[in-house]
Symmetry: C2
């Protein structure tokens, strides 16, 4: 069997499994998740041994220490994966929910019924924990998944997927509910993206380059998880102590993630008192600062921000700072340079807050809170498969519910169209 045939046959198996998964009860799916958690525990040493092989190969291939660290599966990380599976088992099952009920004048009783999407393809890079997290979420929402991980993690991922697949089967659900493409051949991705009618949705997770390539080549709907160029805007009516705490938290608490702030916008009337305190604090925490001219007049030690800076997701202890004239300039800046991920205003003025919420076209808009809260767990979704920067189907954190669709159910008593 060549690569194309292999991937297509995986698609067919996934489609068959999806039909069965769609009929599974919440308790049946939970039993399968418990079985997965137990199997991961039992087969820990197998998983670590396969992971060692990836790490050896990675060292030979000259992966950076950071990359190797991301790839490593140790006791603690396997424990975290197992706990994650248990948490997903405890979440409410969205499938089967009836909503939007109506009775039409002709007596037809109509409602929408939440159902799984079907078969989901997930294309991701390096961290092997995604293999387990994504499988748990798709299984709980009644979807079959085809996983395509990074080449560096192929042995770890195959071990994890194999353990899960066997555990799911032993709990009475289809083994092919979770499948991992067993080759690193690039052609496999191309074929996956052409499986219309077998695969219903593609979710790419990783760098911008990966996501763009997938979006350009897919014939299947894609939900994109692009970068976060998140802003904190400190309004003239802000509590400046609160503003300082929020801006500091949004930048420094965990700079390497998509919901960390990259740009600080400060309203002109409060720019001087605010930045005089904010800049030294950020510098003390090791943050490199670049700013507009007005910022540099207030503190000449700040570097020059170029046009590129406003469009950059640093994912690091770097922050660009701009002084703006009120909410109009702030919103214009966000519209022009932002990535529609998460943006926050700090203000004590309710009218200004309301306007900011209305006008900023981002998946999450925050008032007096750190951008770092943009997250499925923080929103109470229980877990997330990613943060969508698309506007179609799911926006912002994608939890179990966002992994479902609906069908219209129409119950009649012999009604005919006239």
């Amino acid at each position: 069997m060549n690569v194309k045939e292999l991937v297509r046959s995986m698609g067919e198996k996934a489609r068959n499994s999806a039909a069965k998964l769609a009929l599974a009860t919440a308790s049946g799916k939970n039993a399968a998740l418990e079985s997965v958690a137990e199997a991961l525990e039992k087969d820990k040493s197998l998983i670590v041994a396969e992971n060692e092989k990836d790490l050896d190969q990675g060292e030979k291939d000259g992966l950076s220490a950071a990359m190797l660290d991301r790839l490593r599966l140790n006791e603690k990380r396997i424990r975290a994966m197992i706990d994650g599976v248990g948490e997903v088992a405890r979440l409410e099952d969205p499938v089967g929910k009836v909503y939007d009920e109506r009775i039409r004048p002709n007596g037809l009783r109509i409602h929408r019924l939440k159902v799984p999407i079907g078969v989901i393809g997930i294309i991701y890079e390096s961290r092997p924990n995604v293999t387990v997290d994504a499988s748990a979420l798709t299984l709980k929402s009644g979807n079959a998944v085809i996983l395509r991980g990074g080449r560096e993690a192929i042995k770890s991922n195959l071990a994890l997927a194999g353990v899960m697949s066997r555990a799911i089967e032993s709990a009475g659900l289809p083994a092919a509910s979770v499948q991992l493409i067993p080759t690193t051949d690039r052609e496999a991705v191309g074929e996956l993206l052409r499986l219309e009618g077998l695969v219903d949705l593609i979710i790419p997770r990783g760098g911008e380059e990966l996501i763009r390539r997938v979006a350009e080549n897919s014939r299947i709907p894609v939900i994109k998880h692009y970068k976060g160029i998140c802003h904190v805007y400190v309004d003239r009516d802000a509590d400046l102590v609160m503003a300082e705490e929020i801006a500091f938290n949004a930048k420094v608490q965990r700079p390497g993630v998509c919901n960390a702030a990259e740009t600080l916008l400060v309203d002109e009337p409060v720019a001087e008192p605010f930045l005089k305190k904010m800049i030294p604090r950020l510098k003390n925490a090791g943050v490199r600062l670049v700013g507009c001219e007005r910022t540099r007049l207030i503190d000449p030690s700040v570097g020059v921000a170029t046009e590129d800076d406003w469009r950059t997701e640093y994912l690091d202890l770097v922050l660009s700072v701009r002084v703006v004239n009120g909410i109009d300039e702030a919103v214009d800046h966000i519209e022009r340079y932002g990535s529609r991920h998460t943006d926050a205003i700090v203000t004590g003025n309710e009218k200004t807050a309301e306007e900011f919420v209305k006008r900023v076209d981002s998946s999450s808009v925050m008032v007096n809170a750190s951008t770092r809260f943009s997250d499925g767990y923080q929103y109470g979704l229980g877990a997330e498969i990613g943060i969508s920067t698309d506007k179609i189907h799911a926006r912002g954190p994608m939890g179990l519910e966002e992994l479902t669709t609906y069908k219209w159910v129409v119950i009649g008593s012999g009604q005919l169209r006239e």
Copy 2:
């Protein structure tokens, strides 16, 4: 300006208009719709004159009488468009709806807010009424639209879009809320499908070939409106009189539309009595019948159904008939040959009905009702922009609500991530 620059500049204008439309009130949008309705009335003769030019050109180009008829705008059809705009004005505005509210343990108040999608590109064929219907729906839902109609209707469509655009502007909303690509150059579509960041969603409406081409070439999310291979399954526990009426209505009442039935599945135990009455009635109504072997044993005048027949959307007075052994075979047939549009069961057995609803993976599943009810007006959506055969974002009839997305709004009092 070349075609690419032209289309891109339209995208930029649409993006600016969308930002303003998102802030428009329901009454502001309704005033614009009233203004459109009045302008269409006032400029009727201009529209008819431009339509005459298309018709003249169409005759020269050898369009069929049916095509010319679809293209024609007369008093009655313009009246229907105007009435349609009035109806959309009277629909409830989905934008601004707050839902899914929650207060988190840390005090964050979180909700989802319904907002317009932004800029929608609609690519369609021939009928000029789509120009008006689609514009009314996108305007009411706060979206800017870029229209790309068929080459046969270019002058009619430009006249309609021009009248609407001026009317919207005179009501205080942006003229570029509605724009029609003024050239029939094919390159224009290619460029439209590449306007990532400016256009948020593409909806193609027309033949399968058009939709497939759009889906393959678009970098922007597409919601597809593919064909309907709809089934009526007559179960062993059906009221056979009701079944006969429903099957007849689903096939004959309007055979040229996507929610008309193409295949009749009959459960073995009732096949003979049912088909002995059904087949003559269908033949009397001019329906050509093809069937499986068992059907032809019951009535040898029925033609032979080939494998292709089960996959064909006839859109005509043709019906394929198959005798199946119970719900399992019926569901398997629908899964294998159907298009996941609309499928119906006729049965008096609630358990069987429930199983059919669960197992059939179609956008609409009906019990004891004609497939012809799969329609936005019939479901009480007020209007529809089409019937999605995709599973992502919108499934089945797409009304105003399906033309919106949401943002997460997070209201804090200084919360920080730990």
